[in-house]
């Protein structure tokens, strides 16, 4: 095999990394290069570019190598695939990261890898790259390391001291699916790795009896990713799994990745169009669980088959199914109630709570404050607006279902 150029390797190893959805670069410790080194982090995340698939490019997301000894049916890099293989040297990964960083193209590195030889060997190489960046080059930017669940705890412990975020992919929403499609992986090992990271983060947050703070462990927390559409799991089960993961491991995010056809596909999985709308609805539902006080059962009950309604956003679907709770008087409703009004976001609700102390709010005020009244109208009463029979009208579902964005604001 001819020796590949850096550019050829970059092409292969970024192509191999594109199925990981995470690109967050926010929420870590605040730091910068004024006292030396290069880079800064800790503000809001920055997306330096967007590709035509609508995904943001915030980090240099690459695989250290796409050689892999595992055989996960959904993965382009599985051992049984004939995809072109390449391997970066640690120096190459460090060089690419720093040169892109200096040109303001990225916030940092998201390094993942196929499993070569052994989990420990692979994790050890990834940790070495992070150490070179942090220690030799004084890199203060963001580092996200994909943790290998089977790797030795000492390696994960060092990774947590170097990286801002660690993640282990849960891969599939149900254990049976993982056992079937990724026979070398074990769901209990993956969850145990998440539990270990949670405990390590908590231990690092405790000050000792002498008042000393231990070094921060993965200050931007951990996240995970679940592939949607590679197995037959309905949305309700997916949301239950997410709820358990959020509750158990203090995850910052669960990413949903619509299963997408891969080159050199496995015969066990269908080559179908990725369910992008379903992925979008799951993100909306996930948001409702984390910021709006909904639980997985409420959202998952939208349809008897356990899937979300693709035609409606999950909050609107819930409100249409619970019309008895509406209309709400915006002047008196609690924060929790207002958060359940379709068309009211968390910021709109905060503004309503602040503004209603200064006097009654009218329809036009809510519009100016960012409420989507086309959605909210049937569910609220205001001094100058009464939905009347609209809330319970039989045609309300149909009004929203075909194309809600086409309704006029004043229609």
């Amino acid at each position: 095999m001819a020796r590949r150029t850096l550019q050829q390797k970059l092409a292969i190893l970024s192509d191999a990394a594109k199925y990981d959805a995470s690109c967050a670069s926010s929420g870590t410790t605040r730091r910068d290069a004024r006292q030396g080194g290069i880079g800064s982090a800790g503000g809001t995340g920055i997306c330096h570019a967007y590709t035509p698939d609508g995904r943001c490019v915030s980090l240099l997301k690459i695989l250290m190598t796409n050689f892999c000894i595992y055989d996960c049916a959904y993965c382009v890099n599985r051992v049984s695939s004939n995809v072109e293989r390449a391997r970066f040297s640690p120096e190459e990964v460090v060089g690419l990261t720093l040169e892109f960083y200096r040109r303001n193209m990225i916030e940092g590195l998201f390094l993942s890898s196929g499993i070569i030889r052994s989990p420990d060997q692979t994790m050890g190489d990834m940790v070495r790259i992070a150490r070179m960046l942090r220690v030799e080059h004084g890199f203060r930017g963001y580092i996200h390391l994909k943790t290998i669940p089977e790797a030795a705890p000492e390696l994960v412990a060092e990774a947590g001291l170097l990286a801002d975020r660690l993640s282990v992919n849960i891969e599939l929403p149900q254990d049976q699916s993982l056992r079937r499609l990724a026979p070398e992986k074990r769901p209990e090992t993956i969850r145990a790795a998440m539990a270990d990271m949670r405990l390590a983060r908590e231990a690092a947050a405790e000050t000792s009896h002498r008042g000393k703070r231990p070094p921060r462990f993965a200050p931007a927390g951990q996240s995970t990713q679940m592939i949607v559409g590679a197995d037959a799991t309905p949305d309700r089960e997916i949301l239950r799994t997410s709820a358990r993961l959020y509750a158990g491991y203090d995850l910052k995010r669960v990413y949903y990745s619509a299963f997408s056809p891969i080159p050199d596909a496995s015969a066990t999985l269908p080559l179908v169009k990725p369910p992008l709308l379903r992925e979008h609805r799951l993100y909306q539902a996930d948001w409702l669980m984390r910021f709006y006080g909904f639980d997985a059962e409420e959202i998952g009950a939208a349809r008897p088959d356990g899937n979300l309604d693709l035609a409606l956003d999950p909050k609107l679907a819930w409100a249409l199914a619970h019309r008895g709770d509406f209309p709400l008087d915006v002047a008196r409703a609690t924060r929790e109630q207002l958060l359940r009004v379709p068309g009211f976001g968390t910021r709109t609700v905060a503004r309503i709570l602040a503004a209603r102390r200064n006097g009654p709010l009218r329809y036009a005020d809510l519009l100016r404050m960012g409420a989507v009244m086309a959605k909210a109208r049937p569910f609220v009463t205001l001094p100058d607006w009464q939905p009347g029979a609209l809330t319970d009208s039989a045609g309300l579902h149909a009004r929203f279902a075909p194309a809600p964005e086409q309704l006029s604001l004043f229609g």
């Binding site: 290069a33 997306c47 570019a49 035509p52 051992v79 049984s80 004939n82 892109f100 070398e184 997408s260």
Partner: protein
């Protein structure tokens, strides 16, 4: 008309000084013209700034924060709007607290537009490397923001790229950094030399794109077209989009491929066959239990929590099921209930390390609620399924006495469901014949109100004390069945 001239840079400080003076005289906004660098002279002649007045002028911190953003907007009206707001803040301190006020809404819209422009410039500016002339590397960039935000964006770059010299050229002016930041008047767009890393970046951009997902609306809303002309990667987008359908069709046409011959050999080494032999040691049993799927609890819990302690223990202590702490750590009795158990065992002279500690059910059962997991009692069916593992432990440890903590452990060991209150403190035969001393679960003591908890704790200590006595006297006495001694 009073005319206030604002400089090209540090405009906000100049506006503040003038606005404070004007407001102290309560000069009305309509009487002031704010002129920026390069503005035409006033046609009708202009009055200079009047002397300060007697009124106090105060601004709230949130108002100043708003000024710092709005001042970078390109709208020539902004200074006048801010001055109007400043006068209103003198009468109404919490003006900004009312998100329904039209002036507040307008100012916040200006601030939002500035924040977005700053954010986009932080994101989309690209440096080109220049030949170095000294020890530090040199870079330069050209950027066309929507608003005159040069002074607002550059501190970010100064904190981030502190070890290199750089220049950012915009239509508003030029920022120079060589360890310190300074600004100078605008120059024509510079000709930046080609940079090999930009070509690598294009390679990355083209390959990180998934042709099976096209969402151009999301791309355009986050990366508006107005920024495209100065980005090295966006010129690839039309070709990437044009190629996408062909690439997806080619994937579908190629279909599944034949696995290379070595693949099966590699995975055969990794896929160990499931061990279904009857376990000969506690370790083997524990390894088998780690993959247990006898009931559905394994899908939600982190992992199997196997028993631990002395494999030759005379005493076995059986709890209900692992809790939140035990599930996370993968070890039994490490949470608050476990600590209470260990404390009371020590009080009665029993060494927890010389007992075998385990649970009737080996997986945590819970209901998620936000960021917490609420404990749920295992069902009779789950206890039934898991008894298989408890029996393995009992067979391999062969304890002389077993203590059942709580009703679930009592059910698992004796097969009897009757309420525990009447049975607590008695010894019943286990399903396999050995003696089982029944007592409270320590988590009950932790949940009870103080007075009742004290009573329950002393029951618990007495029961464990009795267990210690039974183990000590077992050689002498065989009468284990009676409750009164």
């Amino acid at each position: 008309m009073i005319r206030v001239e604002l400089p090209r840079f540090d405009r906000l400080a100049a506006w503040r000084a003038a606005a404070r003076r004007l407001a102290s005289a309560r000069i009305q906004p309509g009487a002031v013209t704010w002129a920026e660098a390069g503005a035409a002279p006033d046609l009708f002649g202009a009055e200079p700034l009047p002397p300060p007045g007697l009124h106090p002028v105060r601004a709230t911190p949130d108002f100043l924060a708003l000024c710092r953003q709005v001042g970078f907007h390109g709208d020539p009206q902004r200074w006048s709007l801010l001055y109007t707001a400043l006068l209103r803040v003198q009468e109404q301190r919490d003006l900004l607290g009312n998100p329904a006020d039209p002036l507040v809404i307008r100012l916040q819209a200006l601030a939002r537009s500035v924040r977005r422009d700053i954010h986009k410039m932080h994101a989309f500016l690209r440096f080109h490397e220049l030949p170095a002339t000294g020890p530090r590397r040199r870079f330069a960039a050209w950027f066309e923001p929507e608003h005159p935000i040069l002074q607002a964006v550059t501190p970010f770059f100064a904190r981030r790229f502190a070890d290199m010299d750089w220049r950012i050229v915009t239509p508003e002016g030029v920022a120079h950094f060589d360890g310190a930041l300074r600004f100078s008047d605008p120059v024509p767009r510079p000709d930046l030399p080609p940079d090999a890393s930009h070509a690598l970046w294009q390679t990355y951009f083209a390959n990180i794109f998934n042709p099976a997902r096209i969402k151009t609306r999301a791309m355009r809303s986050e990366m508006p077209l107005k920024y495209w002309k100065n980005l090295p990667e966006t010129r690839l987008v039309p070709q990437m989009l044009a190629d996408a359908p062909r690439r997806v069709a080619a994937m579908a046409a190629a279909g599944a491929s034949e696995a290379p011959g070595f693949a099966a050999k590699v995975t055969a080494r990794l896929r160990l066959p499931t061990d279904e032999t009857a376990p000969a040691t506690l370790e083997q049993a524990g390894a088998q239990a780690a993959a247990c799927q006898r009931c559905d609890l394994c899908h939600a819990a982190t992992r199997t929590v196997w028993g631990e302690g002395d494999p030759d223990a005379a005493l076995m202590i059986v709890g209900e099921a692992p809790g939140d702490h035990e599930d996370l750590r993968g070890r039994p009795f490490v949470g608050p209930a476990g600590q209470l158990l260990r404390a009371v065992l020590a009080e009665v002279g029993l060494d927890p390390d010389r007992a075998w500690l385990t649970n009737a059910v080996k997986h945590f059962k819970f209901a998620p609620q936000g960021k917490r997991r609420l404990h749920r009692n295992p069902s009779a069916a789950e206890i039934d399924h898991c008894r298989w593992w408890l029996n393995q432990e009992r067979r391999l440890v062969a304890p002389r006495l077993t203590v059942a903590l709580g009703a679930s452990a009592a059910l698992a060991l004796t097969g009897r469901k009757a309420p525990l209150t009447a049975r607590r403190g008695s010894v019943e035969p286990a399903l396999d014949g050995g003696p089982v001393l029944l007592t409270w679960h320590p988590s009950l003591i932790l949940r009870l109100p103080a007075a009742e908890a004290r009573a329950a704790r002393s029951d618990f200590a007495a029961d464990l004390g009795r267990a210690a006595a039974m183990l000590g006297s077992q050689a002498r006495s065989r009468s284990l069945g009676s409750r009164d001694q």
